[in-house]
Each structure stands twice: as C-alpha cells, then as structure tokens.
C-alpha cells in the first residue's frame, strides 16, 4: 500500500518525501484538533461530580 503510494508520487525522492511529510503533518493536525477531542469525550472518565 505505502509502496504503491511511493511509486505513484511524482518527482525525485526528496520531493516525494516532502509531499509525504506535509501529508502526515496535515493528518496529525486534523487528528489533534478535531478527531482526538471527539474521541476523548468517548473514552475519558466523564464522571467528576458527587451525587447520591
């Protein structure tokens, strides 16, 4: 899968590496600001109050 992706990308190796680096950064940014906060509300302890 990643091998195929590497072959599909244009340019010399360093251009491909740069493209992948930018793509990974974009994916991680999206995760940190949108995906992870949402997942957090599903898995983090939600109950912090005292009640009878």
């Amino acid at each position: 899968m990643y091998g195929a992706l590497w072959r599909v990308l244009p340019g010399p190796w360093w251009v491909r590496a740069l493209i992948l680096l930018v793509a990974v950064a974009a994916i991680l940014t999206a995760c940190v600001f949108w995906v992870f906060p949402w997942v957090d509300t599903l898995v983090a302890p939600q109950d912090v109050t005292v009640d009878g």
Binding site: F36, D40, T49, G52
Partner: protein
C-alpha cells in the same frame, strides 16, 4: 553502450497482497492510537488549557476594563470582607466567574459556569458550579466540579495543593480569596462534601467555604478527590487585583 542501458532493469516490484495491505493498515492504526495516547495524557490538556486561559482572561479584562490603572493590592477591603457581594446564579451552562490558583501556575485562569452537566458544561472545558450550592460570598459552600484530565484538565493538579495555598474566585465584582485547608477522598456518592458545611449535614453555616471535586485516580471514576478551602477576604475591583495573582490577571490583559 546500448547494452549497458538495456541491462539496467527496473527493480522487481513486490506484489501487493491482502495480508501486506492489512499489515500496513494495522501498523498505521497502532501509530494513530499511540498519537492519541500522547494527546490524551499530555498534549490535549495543554492545547485546551491554553485556550481556556485565554478565554477566561479575556472575560477578566472585560470586567476590569474601568480599573486597568489601579495598582495591585496586598490586602482585601476590610468592610467588604465582612459582607462580600453575593451574585445571582446565572442560567445553566452560562459562565459567570473565573478560578485562579497560583499553585497551578502563573497563567492558570479557568472559566466557571453554572451547572455540572457533562456535555453542556464540563466537556466544554468549564469548571461547573453545583447549582444546589451557594454562590461565592454567601454563607455556606461554593462547590465546583471539573475534569482531572481531558477537557483542559482544570483540576489536574488538585493533589498538589499545599495547606495555606490561596484559591481565588474572580467575578465582575472582584476577587474572593480562599485558603486551601485539606484534601479528602470519597466515593462518588459522597454528597456530604458539597453540603453548606461540608460533611456536616443539616448544620447552619456561619462561614464561607469552597469545595473542588474531581475524579480520582487519574483516568478512573472509582473515587473523588475533594479539596476544601475557607474564605479569607474580598478584593473589590476598585481596590486593585490581589498582588499574588497580578501575573495571572495582568499577564493576560
């Protein structure tokens, strides 16, 4: 020459197999889970916490707009300390105060909203005010709940409080200064901690308390960790910001 060029054949391609793709997907998923853990235990609360600090300080400087040239004060106002102003609780989920605890850092500045609903108050990074408890300044207990981790981790360091540490509640009127007294660990059903006189059911209050509740241990809901404080004094806006929290308040404004 042509022979040499011909001989340079492309590298043989590895065939794409189902198992190969599946393996790569699993490795990717593993890395994402790892990234999420990093977010949950570390990065997330930094990002959300900074956001909350900014929001609270914006609210604080809006309240303090007319008093921006008043120098910080070492002492509260004696007359107002005896009978501090008591606000009216706002509608559910509405922010009405900020919490400042110097022990938690010179930039710690977090919003307090009415109610302790999980989705409408706490998950939005607010510290929630138990609506059945008193407002700051009133005789009785000003009881708060917030996340220990996630959602900004407002009460992440609750166990780090030392006896004598100050806890400040900021409203549009000024600053209520409380002194931290002690910690207590209770079961989730231990509602006595938010009674007007904590753990003294039915007793008429003659003092002003603050109670902070959150979950314990980290990433668990098995217990609650409780921090108690007792009211000391009131700093009106016209008298200046308490010197101890001048960096929290003015570093922002």
């Amino acid at each position: 020459m042509t022979d040499l060029v011909k001989r340079r054949r492309p590298r043989p391609r590895r065939r794409v197999t189902v198992v190969g793709v599946l393996g790569e997907l699993l490795i990717t998923a593993g890395l994402l889970v790892l990234a999420f853990l990093g977010y949950q235990v570390w990065l997330g609360d930094i990002i959300v916490g900074n956001q909350l600090n900014t929001e609270a300080s914006e609210q604080g400087s809006e309240w303090g707009e007319d008093y921006s040239d008043v120098p910080p004060s070492e002492e509260g106002d004696p007359a107002l300390t005896e009978s501090p102003p008591v606000g009216v609780a706002p509608a559910n989920a509405q922010r009405f105060a900020n919490l400042i605890i110097p022990r938690f850092g010179g930039d710690y500045y977090r919003p307090i909203a009415e109610g302790v609903g999980t989705t409408d108050v706490l998950n939005k990074g607010n510290i929630g005010h138990y609506p059945t408890t008193q407002m700051p300044g009133a005789l009785g207990n000003f009881a708060l709940a917030s996340h220990r981790s996630s959602g900004g981790g407002n009460f992440h360091d609750l166990h780090q409080l030392h006896v004598g540490d100050h806890i400040y509640v900021e409203t549009s009127d000024g600053w209520y200064q409380y002194t931290f007294r002690n910690l207590e660990y209770v079961r989730p059903t231990g509602v006595g901690v938010i009674a007007p006189v904590p753990q003294a059911d039915g007793v008429e209050p003659s003092e002003r308390f603050i109670t902070l509740t959150t979950c314990n241990p980290f990433f668990s809901t098995a217990e609650r960790i409780i921090a108690y404080g007792v009211y000391d004094s009131f700093y009106p806006r016209a008298g200046g910001v308490p010197a101890e929290i001048a960096t929290n308040v003015q570093g922002a404004g």
